[in-house]
Amino acid sequence: MASENIKTPVLELRGITKRFGDVVANENVSLSVYKGEILALLGENGSGKTTLMNMISGIYYPDEGEILVNGNPVSIRSPKEAFDLKIGMIHQHFKLVDVLTATENIILGLDEGKLNIKKAAEKIRNICDLYGFEVDPDQKIYNMSVSQKQTVEIVKVLYRGADILILDEPTAVLTPQETEKLFAVLRNMKKDGKTVIIITHKMQEVLSISDRVAILRKGQYICDKITAQANVQELTDAMVGHSVVLNIARPEPKDPKKKLEISNLTVRSSDGVVRLCDVSFDAYSGEILGIAGIAGSGQKELLEAIAGLQHVENGNIFYIDDEGNKEQLIGKDPLKIAEMGVSLSFVPEDRLGMGLVGNMDLADNMMLRSFRKGKGVFTDRKTPHELAEHVVEELEVNTPSVSTPVRKLSGGNVQKVLVGREIASSPTVLLTAYVVRGLDINSSYTIYDLINKQKERGVAVVYVGEDLDVLLELCDRIMVLCGGRVSGIVDGRTATKNEIGLMMTRIGGSGRDE
């Protein structure tokens, strides 16, 4: 047995390799983590960070290599065995049961004798007091905001006595202020002797929270650095593998004309909750209008209302054509809107669940927009096929052929197919939701370029984003939503991140319900 020595890593990976079919997710990764440190695991989307951590938390089992905890080789075949080794992971997609309460979720799967909700709730309150969390043990998960759910996840791991906490992109869903709160909690944990691994691709966070940063690229371990001695450019280059210019172009809008005029828009979800309340704004041609806000502040409903997919309770959405004629879009479905001659394209958040059909090939997916064309009962298969080939060539989509089901493509290529189809119809209005989510840096920049090209063509672009840095670099104006209301519209060239962050929570704090 190894002695309690500072030099002994609490967690050590040696030569870990994991494959999914032909795809190598991790290749020969070796990494050590020491007690009481906050380690940032930095890498692009698709670089294998999550897969690597999933092998420590027992979700996946490595194909090769070994894992040592406190110097002892271990085999972690299930999350339970990870817990037994005092390792806990907070996944990006929360693993919570919606219809259960916080307490029920936290004690799920534990062997501590008879079910005693009261005693468990007591223990949860103690943990919350110790680190500074706020949790109502009896609240059902489906009534919680994203940040509350995340808190439950963290408490769940601590409740199980974890000494090593792994957080997968914990700040993706948080406002800057919530992020600060989370970081404060993490620092408290570090003081308490816990080890924290935080997966991220955001440079600012690496610098503000971590002691040390380890970088993965394309499934391989690149290097590690003491955070205090690292700088952004250096880390980015190590992460991407070549020098990148961290600048998004922002041409001045040319000859902006009003394209969309939205006033007093109110939308209620099917269960009666107000999702959008009295929203008014205009969108201009040749301009990118950014929409910022915490996840679930009404961004989805807003875009869907414009696209004719959402029942609107009140308000107006006018489309203004080149001659200046106003057309009401409310009460019309996507088909009617298209028949009116309004060329509106929409890149929805859920690419494979809404924008594309995962099980269909590229050509058939191109057909989604055009299958009605032509007379007769049969579909025209030639034109979509040609379009698919065109998109593949133009946007450099990496695919075996146009008859490959799109679900087999990587995230970036899926998005290129979707965006390619949507801009192929030469839209006058382009709606995009979280268009670079999950993409690596190169793909993201390709997409920014495409959007800028549309802007220069005179398209009115509405860009819903989550990364405030990007919004501030790309958009001409930024509208901030908070709990379904407009909390302000700012100039993208002059606004600051902090200002927008505050506006995201200004109306009623995190009040998402009601």
Partner: protein, 367 residues
């Protein structure tokens, strides 16, 4: 912590691709294994040697010209019902109501056959019977489709219950029109006049039905693969949000597809009443609505593969019933063999979708 580091022995991953011929090898192996097991089961229960058992099964299907025609007719009706269900399943609408829809087709045809036999020429009578049958089947599928599209009512159980409602309705009319009185049976309708009977081709009443089945197979393939409707069905089945996103009216597609599905079931009912049986009983459809679900699913909704899967099931059913007659057993024996074969075919899908990786001798001892 000094115990051996245990490594899971088998590791399962999802398969990315499988070459078509390997997929077929897996399926054929599964069927062969199932047949071997069926042979063993039969041997144990009946005591005959397996070769005899299989011989009996072949004889049951192909023994005489009459048996071949019977088998083909059975196959045709099962195929038509399976074809009817396929577009609904493609849309992920679990239509388990094929039996009821076909029965309503029978009821529609029978009603016209009995009520209007004296008031119109034979050709018109047959056309009206067909229309009534199509309507009956379509109506029975429309009702659950309506509620599914409006309130997302569970269609699996709804269509299932509609089967029993149809059965009781038919039972009512069987007693209502019973002939002779007190028999609780309708008997052969229009036996003397043969009004409302489909014409025979060369004295054979099965050929017409087989032709209908063949045409329908090709037609359904074209409809699902090349028509705009077929494309809409696929999109709705894969993802309703996508369908709405491109402006497909999901409700309309669900209802339209189910009306088509029900009407074709009704057609099968019409063929049974007007083409072969010339009577109506509550068991006329004989559970083909259920078997059709499996035929369609096993063939991955491809009409041409459905010919094969429905043949396998019909062959088994008829073969097993021959065995039961031969050895004086109950004819439910066929259902047991069918069940066994289905288990194997359903189970073998796993090996098409997943890969197993075995780890040999990697268990390390750690001090």
């Amino acid at each position: 912590m000094n115990s051996a580091v245990k490594v899971p022995l088998v590791h399962i991953t999802r398969r990315k691709n499988i070459v078509w011929y390997r997929a077929w090898i897996v399926r054929v192996v599964a069927v062969i294994m199932a047949l071997i097991l069926c042979g063993i089961v039969t041997m144990l229960l009946v005591g005959a040697n397996p070769i005899d058992v299989y011989k009996t099964m072949v004889v049951g299907n192909f023994g005489t010209a009459r048996k071949i025609w019977f088998m083909l007719q059975d196959l045709a009706i099962l195929l038509i019902i399976s074809l009817a269900l396929a577009p609904a399943f493609r849309m992920r609408f679990w239509n388990l109501g094929g039996d009821g829809q076909a029965l309503m087709g029978c009821l529609g045809a029978t009603t016209i056959m009995i009520l209007f036999r004296d008031s119109m020429p034979n050709w018109l009578l047959i056309i009206c019977m067909l229309l009534a049958a199509l309507f009956g089947g379509a109506l029975w599928a429309f009702i659950p489709a309506f509620f599914k599209s409006k309130w997302n009512t569970n269609e699996t159980l709804f269509t299932l219950m509609m089967n029993y409602v149809a059965t009781q309705l038919v039972a009512y009319f069987v007693v209502f029109w019973e002939n002779p009185k007190g028999s609780s049976k309708i008997g052969i309708i229009n036996q003397r006049t043969q009004l409302g009977w489909l014409p025979t081709i060369g004295g054979n009443k099965y050929i017409l039905i087989i032709i209908v089945a063949v045409l329908l197979t090709v037609g359904m393939f074209v409809y699902m693969r090349y028509s705009k409707h077929g494309y809409e069905i696929s999109v709705v089945g894969e993802s309703e949000p996508t369908a709405r996103y491109v402006g497909i009216k999901v409700r309309k597609v669900i209802i339209r597809t189910l009306i088509l599905s029900g009407a074709i079931c009704g057609l099968a009912g019409f063929l049974l009443v007007s083409g072969t049986d010339h009577t109506m009983t509550t068991t006329l459809v004989g559970g083909r609505g259920f078997t059709g679900v499996m035929v369609a699913w096993l063939a991955k909704f491809n009409p041409f593969f459905m010919v094969i899967t429905s043949f396998v099931l019909v062959f088994l059913g008829r073969g097993a019933s021959e065995i039961s007659t031969m050895f004086g057993l109950n004819d439910s024996f066929g259902a047991i063999l069918t069940g066994i074969i289905l288990f194997f075919i359903i189970g073998c899908e796993f090996f098409l979708n997943y890969e197993l990786h075995f780890r040999h001798g990697k268990n390390k001892e750690v001090q």
